[in-house]
């Protein structure tokens, strides 16, 4: 974890409402798939808090973030131009487990991305491919435009088997990505990785559990700090023997959790 000022290399619109921000760090960092950063335009007065962004792609001193322009924080990010500066705390959080809990190589996996949750799994997909894990990507979005904005083309470039769903049927199958998962899930899938809206991940978790498959989910929570001090980003977990609490911090205990440890009835976003 380093706290630094990075300079913006580019901040391109992929399609209206979705942008790809590339920054140049002043030193090399090592990061793993699923990690994130806390980012804010330097000198910005409002909004105060940084926004958590998954490391979409990265290589040494260059890091890319894919984001959906929604509220005040992402709107401020969307105004960044080349050579502007961002305050950045990076890398944060844990990463996608790439072995079974018994420590063995995973042979077959499914990755379920919903909306901008895709940003957290692109490098995961690449790594799964490179390490020879037989991987199916299930890629859900509201419509074709959102799918493109969520990096569809970058996923396609990986050349992995891919099922695309859209809510309105404008691209791929019409319907929920979770329905596609139910259809596509074969017995030999050992691990399901998922990132997306809470209700989607909840359903992915249920489907995986019903099929006795390990599932990991990267959660979203409102983040004050991103490095474990505000204790604002908690998720309710099934109470375990160890530890003192029934809440875990998404930023430092996650953002990736084994799905069965999560209390899916308590939405971490408060929704």
């Amino acid at each position: 974890m380093i706290e630094t000022i990075a300079s913006v290399r580019s901040n391109q619109e992929i399609i209206e409402g979705y942008k790809l921000l590339e920054v140049q760090l002043n030193r090399e960092i090592e990061h793993s798939p699923g990690q994130f950063a806390m980012v804010r335009p330097s000198g910005l007065l409002e909004p105060l808090l940084r926004r958590a962004l998954a490391i979409y792609r990265g290589d040494g001193t260059r890091v890319e973030f894919l984001y959906h322009v929604l509220g005040a924080g992402t709107q401020a990010l969307s105004k960044l131009k080349s050579d502007d500066e961002v305050d950045i705390l990076i890398p944060l959080g844990n990463s996608w487990p790439l072995a079974t809990s018994a420590g063995q190589r995973i042979r077959k996996a499914a990755v379920v991305a919903g909306g901008i949750g895709s940003a957290s799994v692109l490098t995961l997909c690449r790594q799964l491919k490179e390490t020879g894990v037989e991987t199916t990507v299930l890629f859900g979005a509201a419509d074709e435009r959102a799918a493109v904005g969520c990096g569809l083309d970058h996923f396609r470039e990986l050349g992995l088997p891919m099922i695309v769903t859209t809510d309105d049927g404008s691209l791929g199958e019409k319907g929920l990505v979770t329905s596609a998962l139910e259809k596509a899930l074969s017995d030999d899938v050992e691990t399901v990785y998922t990132c997306g809206p809470w209700p989607m991940m909840r359903r992915v978790s249920e489907i995986s559990m019903a099929n006795g498959i390990t599932c990991y989910a990267s959660l979203e929570a409102p983040m004050g700090c991103g490095f474990g001090v505000c204790v604002g980003c908690v998720v309710a977990v099934h109470v375990e023997a160890q530890g003192y609490g029934s809440y875990k911090r998404v930023c430092t205990d996650g953002s990736i959790f084994a799905a069965e440890t999560i209390r899916w009835d308590v939405n971490a976003m408060g929704d």
């Binding site: 706290e3 809440y247 408060g270 929704d271």
Partner: protein, 313 residues
């Protein structure tokens, strides 16, 4: 961790209630964890000190999410005082914290006087704590939920009891949600507090107009950040002229200039809260900025500036 290498600006050193701080900039309770969370980011030896997350006699799970909401110029929090408990703090955290040359203020809270006293008893056993800071902004369940810190009588009574058993200097942290902050401060110093911190958060609320429900699970939460700084500065200014104990100024500090507002208004030191979240190195930046201010204004020391704002009436 090699504290011998750390160079301190001697003009920033300040003694408060017998505690000597290398500089007057502390991390505020609840925003600085147990200090250790920052060790990867900054040299804790360069820090004036920090107040720990609120510690209770027993560990606490805290509130269900959603716990925080950003607001204009600040944020609301309703963490519910999730903490490891005083015992685990003494046994697991203190040995690690002791490796650093910085001052450690254990922030203490409870839902009844006995809760507070029990926590202090446990902390009395720990080595490496420099003082206690009582967070009296919690509702007292035994007294029907009244907030101890909003009642001068209840606050003074707790202060007196705590002072009696405390092995260490006792700081009391005031709630700003009161009609008369001077009355509250006077009652607490009259009861023996060695110093005061002000302010804690203001009670606020945010509504999700789409879902038509409060954004925080706890409904209301504490407002912090730059939004509240004018209120905090005013309270420090008012209290400084009426009590003789030193004050820690807290509330919306994000720069040396912000810190100086409090110091000039009468605070001997400052604590930085919310700004740590969006600027994790802010504490060190502020102490550097204080040195620069002394240079620029040819002032001998921070202590010479405390309370030096002009008071027209």
């Amino acid at each position: 961790m090699d504290s011998h290498k750390t160079k301190h600006d001697p003009r920033l050193a300040i003694e408060i209630a017998g505690i000597r701080f290398n500089n007057p900039v502390l991390g505020a309770s609840g925003t600085f964890g147990y200090g250790l969370e920052f060790s990867e980011l900054l040299d804790l030896n360069r820090l004036g000190g920090f107040a720990t997350k609120g510690l209770s006699a027993k560990p606490l799970a805290g509130n269900p999410p959603r716990r925080i909401v950003e607001t204009h110029g600040g944020m609301l929090n309703a963490i519910g005082l999730q903490n490891v408990g005083a015992r685990a703090f003494v046994e697991e955290k203190l040995p690690l914290i002791r490796q650093y040359d910085t001052r450690v203020i254990a922030n203490v809270f409870g839902y009844s006087d006995d809760d507070y006293l029990e926590a202090i008893q446990i902390l009395n056993d720990g080595e490496g704590i420099d003082g206690y800071e009582l967070n009296i902004s919690c509702p007292n369940v035994k007294e029907g939920g009244i907030v101890i810190g909003n009642s001068p009588v209840a606050a003074a009574r707790l202060t007196e009891k705590a002072k009696r058993i405390s092995r260490r200097p006792l700081i009391v942290k005031l709630s700003p949600n009161v009609t008369d902050i001077v009355e509250l401060a006077s009652a607490i110093t009259g009861a023996g507090a060695d110093a005061l911190s002000l302010i804690n958060t203001l009670v606020g609320m945010s509504v999700d107009v789409i879902r038509r429900s409060p954004r925080l699970n706890y409904v209301t939460g504490g407002l912090s950040g730059p939004a509240i700084r004018p209120i905090a500065v005013r309270m420090v200014y008012e209290v400084a002229s009426k009590v003789t104990v030193p004050l820690f100024g807290v509330g919306g500090i994000g720069s040396a200039s912000d810190a100086l507002e409090f110091i000039l208004a009468g605070a001997s030191a400052v604590q930085i809260g919310t700004a740590n979240y969006y600027d994790p190195l802010v504490t060190l930046k502020v102490s550097e900025g204080l040195s620069e201010y002394l240079d620029k204004t040819a002032s001998p020391s921070i202590s010479s500036l405390v309370g030096s704002v002009s008071r027209p009436f």
